[in-house]
């Protein structure tokens, strides 16, 4: 599709002897919300930095807005917003000054910067803190300010690297709500996360990354359908009894995962599977039937749990 905002093909990034991104292909379409899901060290940030034109690609090809980051990096950066993993706010300046000075980097006039600052602080609900120093702000507020700052140039594309890592649940929901509004306005969102719920909430489409490669691609629903069952039965046993019980449970459900602290049984009907567990005389300390999530997709694809 030629109108894609980002096209990457066989994209690689290598630092000395370490391969951070190992030949990935993906496309991001206009207005879409696209995610990179994976554990720390999967190559998500390196990919984002290449898209953001702040890290040269090692090989393969990458175009953003149809332009080549090597040649037109400055122009590409002028049309996108970046929310980095760490906030990078200027601690010596006030909330409003942070927005003003950042707008100046894009050569937006002072009066226009001031107009947008009022609007953006309202959008991220920080209007009453406009003249406060940045330091005393909470983590969630700093994150919102960073998002406001990334919007000062009215970007067509917004890159968010782990936007809610380290935030409390309420702050995360406020942030998700703001991002959802941006998406409704037609801004293309590209984000990385290692949170399943975040990926399910925000992404139309995502790729699962592991060790610099893409393990799977699709919508959250589609990935779950493809790589997991409708439901999952989680069983917990007393310490050291996992292995013995696993043998007895063999054959229940479509598939079974043995984790250090629990056993997962994949079956479209979890209650039915639990019934069978009891029929076999196995008595877990705790049991839980839930819907499959991206966590299960990741486990299936990589054999490892996602959360660090």
């Amino acid at each position: 599709m030629s109108d894609a905002v980002i096209i990457a093909s066989d994209l690689r990034k290598q630092f000395d002897n370490f391969v951070a991104v190992d030949g990935i292909d993906f496309e991001v379409r206009p207005g879409e919300s696209f995610g990179f899901l994976g554990p720390n060290g999967a190559g998500k940030t390196s990919t984002m930095r290449m898209i953001g034109c702040v890290s040269p690609i090692t090989s393969g090809s990458l175009t953003v807005f149809g332009l080549d980051p090597n040649v037109d990096g400055s122009e590409i950066r002028s049309r996108m917003g970046v929310v980095p993993q760490s906030d990078q706010l200027d601690p010596e300046l006030t909330v409003a000054e942070n927005l003003l000075i950042y707008g100046r980097y894009f050569d937006i006039s002072r009066s226009e910067c001031r107009r947008r600052t009022v609007e953006l602080l309202d959008f991220v609900q920080l209007s009453d803190r406009a003249n406060d120093q940045v330091d005393p702000l909470s983590g969630g507020m700093k994150r919102r300010l960073t998002i406001a700052r990334s919007l000062i140039n009215e970007p067509e594309l917004l890159l968010l690297d782990e936007p809610t890592t380290g935030l409390d649940p309420q702050a995360r929901h406020v942030l998700w709500d703001r991002l959802y509004r941006l998406k409704q306005r037609g801004v293309t969102l590209v984000l990385t996360t290692h949170y399943m719920d975040e990926a399910e909430q925000l992404c139309d489409r995502l790729v699962v990354m592991d060790e610099g490669r893409i393990a799977a691609e699709g919508s959250p629903r589609n990935l779950i359908d493809r790589y997991s069952t409708r439901e999952v039965l989680e069983l917990r046993f007393a310490i050291g009894e996992n292995d013995a019980n696993a043998a007895t449970l063999e054959g229940i459900g479509e598939r079974c995962e043995l984790l250090p602290d629990r056993i997962l049984i994949y079956d479209d009907d979890g209650e039915e599977a639990l019934g069978e567990v009891h029929r076999r005389g196995v008595d877990p300390v705790a049991s839980l039937v839930r819907r499959s999530s991206l966590e299960d997709v990741f486990l299936r694809l990589t054999g490892r749990a996602l959360v660090d």
Binding site: F15, S74, P84, S86, Q88, E92, Y102, Y105, D107
Partner: protein, 260 residues
């Protein structure tokens, strides 16, 4: 019309400086006053009584000898100090330059903006010292207007190479050593307080290759008419070489740090 990229970077520094300009300028003003009164007048009274001093100082008073040199030493100290923690801050603590680098600004342009800012800040400090010198009869001369750019160039000869080095540091642990083992020895032995031909012979070539001595010679020659500054073109060339190489090094180290 678009604002030059270096000016956009400079605006960030100016905005932050506006919160501390009072203490910076007061420091730039008070310190040379203390040296002028304590050393220039106090020690000078002793020095000028010795008959040798006529020969050693080429017939000028100790006050006249010391005062113009303070333009160059202030430029060095001001330029040196703002090139350490403040530059590293942009890369490793506040990530100010990292944030700039994700906007249309290129690393080279960020380095140029910093150079522009160094020039401004050193010029402010040097002008404050020139204001002090204008208070005294011995140094109230139009030559101060020539000495100011000479001192600013001296400051840049320190600020730009040091900034290039600072931008490669992972922490600030080695910064106090730069002040203690480079800037302060130069301040003391670089020809400000006594002529460098009083140094042990093996040390004199060291003074010739440091930027400070060249800057002091230029400032002294500009302010005190009877002093021969020696080969002015050589002094300027040495200072320019430090500044230009320093700027090119900044562009390179900034690119390396901001475009991994």
């Amino acid at each position: 019309m678009s604002t030059p990229t270096a000016v956009r970077v400079w605006e960030n520094h100016l905005l932050r400086y506006r919160k501390i300009w009072g203490s910076h300028l007061l420091g730039a003003f008070v310190q040379p006053v203390l040296y002028l009164v304590g050393m220039g007048l106090g020690v000078g009274a002793l020095v000028d009584r010795s008959t040798d001093s006529i020969v050693l100082l080429d017939g000028i008073t100790y006050f006249e000898f010391l005062a113009p040199a303070l333009l160059a030493t202030t430029a060095m100290m001001s330029g040196g100090q703002t090139s350490l923690w403040e530059v590293a801050d942009g890369f490793i603590w506040s990530h100010r330059y990292v944030a700039m680098a994700s906007t249309p600004l290129r690393p080279r342009e960020i380095a140029d903006g910093l150079a522009l800012w160094h020039t401004t800040r050193i010029a402010l400090a040097v002008t404050a010292v020139a204001g002090v010198l204008a208070l005294f009869d011995e140094t109230r001369t139009w030559g101060l207007l020539v000495a100011i750019p000479a001192a600013v160039l001296t400051g840049l000869a320190f600020a730009l190479p040091i900034s290039a080095w600072s931008s490669t540091r992972k922490n600030g642990s080695s910064f106090p050593a730069v002040i203690r083992f480079a800037l302060i020895p130069m301040f003391l032995f670089g020809g400000a307080f006594f002529p460098i031909d009083q140094l042990p012979e093996w040390l004199q070539p060291v003074a010739y290759v440091t930027p400070l001595w060249h800057g002091i010679e230029l400032c002294r020659g500009a302010v005190i008419p009877s002093v021969d500054a020696g080969p002015v073109a050589v002094h300027v060339a040495v200072l320019l070489a430090y500044a230009v190489v320093g700027l090119l090094a900044c562009r390179a180290t900034f690119a390396k740090a901001l475009r991994p």
